[in-house]
Symmetry: C2
Subunit: 639 residues, 2 copies
C-alpha cells in the first residue's frame, strides 16, 4: 500500500496462447517490466496465464509440466519491486493425483521481491483453486486436485486452508474463477477470506464467452463486493482455446468493483488491455470513480465473438485464405460476409456449384452477394460429375468371384441427393480450397446440426463451423445485423431473407415453387432449442404434456399457433417423433464427424454438450401420454 | 444365510443397453424371477445396470432420471424372497449437484422383501460410490456427487459413511467399481467396510475392456480378498457404450474370490452369463472350490474385443450390410476378414477402386482376398472421375465480378493425391454403401491416425474405425492371428504381409519398385506409441535425451539400431520433428472429424485421450538439447 492508502494496481488482460508457456511467459515478463517502470504496486494476470486452460490432456506430459514450472520461476525472478499475481499449474511430485499421475493444482501465484508467498497457514507458497468445475466444457477434476480434496487428505476442513495471502500490500483475498461462483457448492471461498481479514478480493479467471454470461457475473460479483464491503478485481484472459470438437472464445471483460459493488473500471471485450487503477483501501472510502453501466449482450456480442473466434482460429491453423461455397441461401451468405470482414477480397473465394436443381433465383442471389463483397468468385457446375457417379453405381452388378452371389445396386432419391452434396463438399470444395492455398468452411447452423439435416462429407465438412451454435432464426438475425450495422450498405441481398430455405437437391425442393426444407421455422428452432439448451433438458415427454395441456406455445415461446402448422394430434406426434428420432439417431453419428463448432452460447454441440450414440429413445411416461392422446401405444416410426 | 452357513448367490453378468432403463429393467426382473425359482438367496447385477454408464450428458434430462427412478421401484417390488443388488442412479431433489442441477448419485441398491436397505447410519437407503474416476473415458464428477463430497457437505469424515449394509444375509460390504481401485485415493472403502464387520465383499462394476486390465484387476482384487480375509464378488456388465468419438467394449469377466484371494468361479468374457455360487461364510471355511488359472491377454483377446464391439456397434446403428474398400494392403484385408466373421457373404461387399497408380500386385491381392472370403466383390475405377475433377479445377480462373481481381488455380502433387483418396471415400464408397443399403468402413490404423497420414473425407471416413486403436505392427499381428487361428485356412494372401505399405497415390509410391509410405515400421510405431500410450507421456524432449544418451532403442523397445534408418543426428532430428509436427498439427484436425474409434487398449484417440488443436509445440529444454546436439537453435521445420 502506498502513502495515500491505496494500491496502484494494473490488470493485465492478456491473450493466453493455450499450450505455449514460454510464449505466454515472455509476454507476461514484458508487461511486468513496464508496470514496474510505471510505478505500479501490483500487476494481476488471469488464471492459467502461463499454460493455458483448455488444453486437453496436455497436462499428462511431464515435459510440459517442467516447462510450466520453469516459466513460473522466470516470472518469480522478474518480481523485484512489484507484486505479481498470476495463474499457472503447480506440481507436487511428492503426492499423487487420483489418476495415479503426479499431483497438479490449478494455482494462483503471488511473487514479491523474487519470492513466492502463499496463504497464511497454507501447505504451499501458492493459492489452490477450491471449487473445480466439471460441467459444460470443463474437466477440471480430470487433471487437478482441488483444495477440498487436499483438505480431506490432510483431515482438515477446507475452511482451514482458505486464508488470505499476507502480501506486502496487505491481506489479499485471492481466488480462482469458479471459487466466486459458489452458489451450488458447500463452501464459499470469498466469504471465508473476507471473514479472515482480506482487504482486497481478487478473482483471476479463464472464463469463456457465453451469451448473457457477463450479466450473470455482474450480479454475482457485484453482490460479493457489496456483501463483504471489499473491492473486487476480476481478471480474465482473451483468446481462443478449444477441446477439439468445440472452440471457445475468451472475451476478457476484466473489471473492478468498488466496496459497494459498483463496477468502476472495465477492460474492453475481446481486446488485449491493461487497466491501471488506484484502489483505496481506507474504510473511509468504500467507493470511488463513476460506475460504468453494463450493457446486456445482444446480436452484436454474438457477431463480435464469432469474428474474433474465427480470426483467431484461422491464425491457430495457419490459415490466410478461405473458400466459401455459396448457394444463395442465408447461411452461406452470412458466412461469406463474416469472412469478408477478416480477409482482403483476394484471399476470399466464393464458389457457386449449381446442378440442374438450382433455380436461377438462388444462382442470381449467390452472384449478387459475390458482386457486393467484391472478392474472388467462380462457378463450378456439378451436373456432369454427379451424372457420372450415378452411371458408375446405379445398376452396377456385384458378384462373388465364385459366381454364387449376384446383386445389382440401385440408388434411391435420397442417395442421389447425398451424392450431390458430397460432390460439392468433398470433391469440389476440398480440391478448390487446396488449389487456392486455403481451407473451406462449413456453413451449417445449429438447427441442421441438431437433427442432422445435412450430408456427411458433403455440407458436414470444412475446417470450422463458425455459425453452428446459432439456430436458423439467429442466423437471420445475424444477417440483418450484418446488413444494418456492419457494412456501410446491405451486402446480403434481400432475397436471401425471404427465400424459402431449401437444399435444392431435387425437384421436390424447388424454391421458385415455394418448396424447400422440411424444417418449419421458427417452431422447430424453438422445439430443438428446448432439447438442447434448456437447463433441465426437455424431452418428448414434457413436450407432449405441454401440448396436451395446451401450453406448448407458451412454454417454447412460440408466438403462433401450433395447430396452424400441425393441425391434428397425430400430425403433431408424427412430427415430434420424426425429429426426435433424427436428433438422437443419425444426427449424433453426423456430429461425431462434424467440423469443430465455434461456441458462442450455452451447450454448443461437441465438448460442451456431450453425447453418446445410443439411438432414439422414449420414456414409458411418454408412451403412456401418447396412448392417452392418440389411442396408439407405439411410436409412429421407430427410427 | 441358509442353514449350511453359506449364501446361495447368483452373479448376473448382463448386457446393459446404455440409455435404455426400461429394456434393462425388463431383463433384470426376468432374471430375478428365475433366481427366485432356483432358490437363490441373492442375485447381484452390475453397476449402473438400469441406466447404462457412458451415456454422455443424458443425465441432464429430467425425464430420463424419472424413468430410472421408476425402474428402480419396479425392481424393488420384484424382490420378494430374494436379496437383489443392482447399480442405478439415485436422485435427491432436495439437494443440488455442483453444476446447479438436481443431486445425483452413482448408487448401489439392495432390495429385500420389497424394501430398499442402505448402509448402517447412512443418509439414504442405498450405497453411494465413494471414489469417482475422472480419467480416460470417465467423467464421473461431471454428473455425480460422490460420498466424499457428501461427507464434506455433512461436515463428517467419509469413513463415517462407509458402513456395511445390514442385509438379512449378514453384513455386506458393497462398493462400486473404482472404490476397489483405491491405491491413489486418500481413503480405502473396502478396508473400512472390512473393519466394520462385513462378512462378504461385493464390487459391482461397469468396467470397459482394456488390453491387460484384467491381469491388473486380478492382482488388486485378489489382494483385497486375502488381506481382509473375506470372499469378494466382482460383477461387471457386457455390451458396448460410447462417448461419441470412442466406443468401449465391456467384457464382463465377472468372478468370485475366496477369502484367501483365490479366484474360484468366473464368467466368460463378452457373453451374457449367470454364475451361481454357494459362498461359505463360516470362518472355518475361508476357501472352497478349485482356483481358476487366469490367462494374460494376448492378440486373441484383442480379436475377441474387436469382433464383439463391431457386431454390437452395427446392431446399435441398425447396420446389417457393410461395404469395405479393399486396396490389397494389410489394413483393409484385416477389416474385411473381421466383417466376414460377423456377416453372411451376401451382406458384405468388397470394393476395389483402382487408379493408374495401383499396381497389378495389389489389385491381384485384393481380388484374391475377395475370392477367399467368398463375398460380393466389385471394381470401380476412379481414373475418369479424378481426371474430370482435375480438369475442372486445375487452371480454373477465379475473378471478382468487378473484374479487378483474377487468379488461376493450380493443383499440387499432394492435392492430386488427396483428390484420389476423396474420390474413393466420399464419392464411390459412400454412394455404393447407400445403394447397397449399408455403411462403409474406415480401415485406418493407429499409426496413420496418430500422424494424420490419411485424407479427410477420403480414407478418414466411414461409420466406424474398428482397427484404429492398433498400431500397424499390431494390425499385422492380428492378420496373422486371423490366418492361423480364426479361419480354417489362411484368408489373407501372404503378399499382404510382405508388401511395402503404400497409399499408391503417385508414381513415387510404386510398390513394385519397393516404394511406399514414409512411415518406417516398427520404429515409428514405437515412437508414436511413446507419445500416445506411455503413462507420463513422452515428448521430443525425452526422445532427444535418450537419443543423445544412446538409450533410445532400449527405452522404446526397438530391436534394431536407429542409426541404420536415420544415420545422422540431423536426419534423426528432422524425422522426429516431421512427425511431431504432424502429430500435434494437422493430425489433430483430422482426428476431430474422424469416425468413431473402437477402443481396445489404453488411450484410444477421441474421448479417452483428449486433445486440443494447438499446433506443434517444443519445450525450451528440447531446443537446448537440440542445439547441443546439432549446433542449431531452431526447429528444422516449423509446421
Amino acid at each position: 500500500m502506498n502513502a495515500s492508502g491505496s494500491i496502484r494496481c494494473r490488470i493485465a488482460q492478456i491473450e493466453v496462447l493455450p499450450g505455449r508457456p514460454s510464449e505466454n511467459t515472455g509476454h507476461i515478463i514484458k508487461l511486468i517490466r513496464s508496470a514496474v517502470a510505471d510505478g505500479m504496486d501490483m500487476i494481476v494476470f488471469p488464471e492459467m496465464a502461463v499454460p493455458g486452460y483448455l488444453i486437453g490432456d496436455e497436462w499428462e506430459y511431464a515435459s510440459f509440466l517442467r516447462e510450466c514450472e520453469r516459466c513460473n520461476e522466470e516470472i518469480r525472478r522478474a518480481s523485484a519491486g512489484i507484486t505479481v499475481v498470476f495463474g499457472s499449474v503447480a506440481v507436487d511430485r511428492s503426492r499423487k493425483n487420483e489418476d495415479g499421475r503426479v499431483r497438479k493444482y490449478n494455482a494462483l501465484f503471488f511473487a514479491e521481491n523474487e519470492r513466492f508467498i502463499g496463504p497464511r497457514n497454507g501447505l504451499y507458497p501458492f493459492v489452490i483453486k477450491a471449487l473445480a468445475p466439471n460441467y459444460r466444457e470443463f474437466d477440471e477434476s480430470r487433471h487437478f486436485c482441488d483444495l477440498r480434496k487436499l483438505a480431506m487428505e490432510e483431515r482438515k476442513s477446507v475452511a482451514d486452508f482458505l486464508e488470505p495471502v499476507p502480501s506486502r500490500l496487505g491481506l489479499l483475498g485471492a481466488v480462482l474463477c469458479e471459487d466466486a461462483w459458489d452458489a451450488d457448492y458447500a463452501v464459499s471461498p470469498l466469504a471465508e477470506l473476507s471473514k479472515k481479514g482480506a482487504v482486497l478480493m481478487i478473482n483471476c479467471s479463464s472464463s469463456p464467452f457465453t451469451l448473457d454470461k457477463n450479466s450473470k457475473r455482474e450480479r454475482i460479483y457485484s453482490t460479493h463486493a457489496s456483501r463483504y464491503g471489499k473491492p473486487l478485481l476480476y481478471v480474465n484472459n482473451i483468446g481462443i482455446q478449444n477441446n477439439g470438437k468445440t472452440v471457445f472464445t475468451f472475451d476478457g471483460s476484466s473489471c473492478v468493483y468498488d466496496a459497494r459493488g459498483r463496477r468502476v473500471a472495465a477492460c474492453p471485450a475481446f481486446e488485449e488491455s491493461e487497466l491501471s487503477v488506484d484502489i483505496p483501501l481506507e474504510p473511509a472510502s468504500p467507493t470511488w470513480g463513476r460506475p460504468i453501466p453494463s450493457r446486456p449482450d445482444d446480436i452484436s456480442s454474438v457477431y463480435k465473438a464469432i469474428i474474433f473466434g474465427t480470426e483467431r482460429f484461422m491464425k491457430l491453423c495457419g490459415v490466410s485464405r478461405v473458400c466459401v461455397g455459396i448457394s444463395g441461401g442465408i447461411d452461406s451468405s452470412v458466412v461469406a460476409c463474416l469472412y469478408r470482414r477478416i480477409l482482403a477480397p483476394e484471399n476470399l473465394l466464393l464458389l457457386n456449384m449449381p446442378s440442374r436443381y438450382n433455380s436461377p433465383t438462388t444462382r442470381t442471389l449467390a452472384r449478387d452477394l459475390a458482386e457486393r463483397l467484391g472478392c474472388l468468385y467462380a462457378e463450378i457446375p456439378i451436373e456432369d460429375s454427379v451424372r457420372f457417379t450415378i452411371s458408375q453405381i446405379d445398376g452396377l452388378c456385384c458378384k462373388s468371384l465364385d459366381g454364387r452371389l449376384k446383386e445389382k445396386l440401385s440408388l434411391t432419391v435420397l442417395a442421389r441427393e447425398n451424392i450431390q452434396a458430397r460432390d460439392r463438399g468433398a470433391r469440389v470444395l476440398a480440391a478448390v480450397a487446396s488449389a487456392f492455398g486455403g481451407v473451406f468452411t462449413c456453413n451449417g447452423n445449429k438447427s441442421e446440426l441438431a437433427v442432422g439435416y445435412a450430408t456427411m462429407y458433403g455440407d458436414v465438412a470444412g475446417y470450422l463451423a463458425n455459425i453452428a451454435d446459432l439456430w436458423k432464426m439467429e442466423v437471420y438475425e445475424l444477417g440483418r445485423h450484418i446488413n444494418t450495422s456492419v457494412y456501410e450498405e446491405p451486402v446480403i441481398p434481400q432475397g436471401c431473407f425471404t427465400l424459402t430455405p431449401s437444399a435444392e437437391l431435387s425437384e421436390a425442393q424447388n424454391v421458385d415453387e415455394g418448396k424447400g426444407d422440411p424444417i418449419i421455422y421458427p417452431y422447430h428452432d424453438l422445439l430443438f432449442k428446448s432439447w438442447v439448451e434448456s437447463w433441465d433438458r426437455v424431452s418428448p415427454e414434457e413436450i407432449l404434456e405441454w401440448y396436451a395441456a395446451g401450453e406448448l406455445e407458451t412454454r417454447l415461446g412460440y408466438k403462433g399457433s401450433i395447430a396452424d402448422i400441425l393441425p391434428t394430434s397425430a400430425a403433431f406426434v408424427a412430427d415430434l417423433e420424426r425429429w426426435w428420432n433424427l436428433y438422437q439417431g443419425m444426427a449424433v453419428a453426423k456430429r461425431i464427424q462434424a467440423p469443430p463448432v465455434l461456441a458462442v452460447k450455452r451447450r454448443a454441440f461437441g465438448f460442451d454438450k456431450r453425447e453418446s450414440l445410443m439411438g432414439p429413445r422414449y420414456t414409458m411416461r411418454y408412451l403412456e401420454l401418447k396412448k392417452k392422446l392418440l389411442g396408439a401405444d407405439k411410436p409412429v416410426s421407430s427410427r
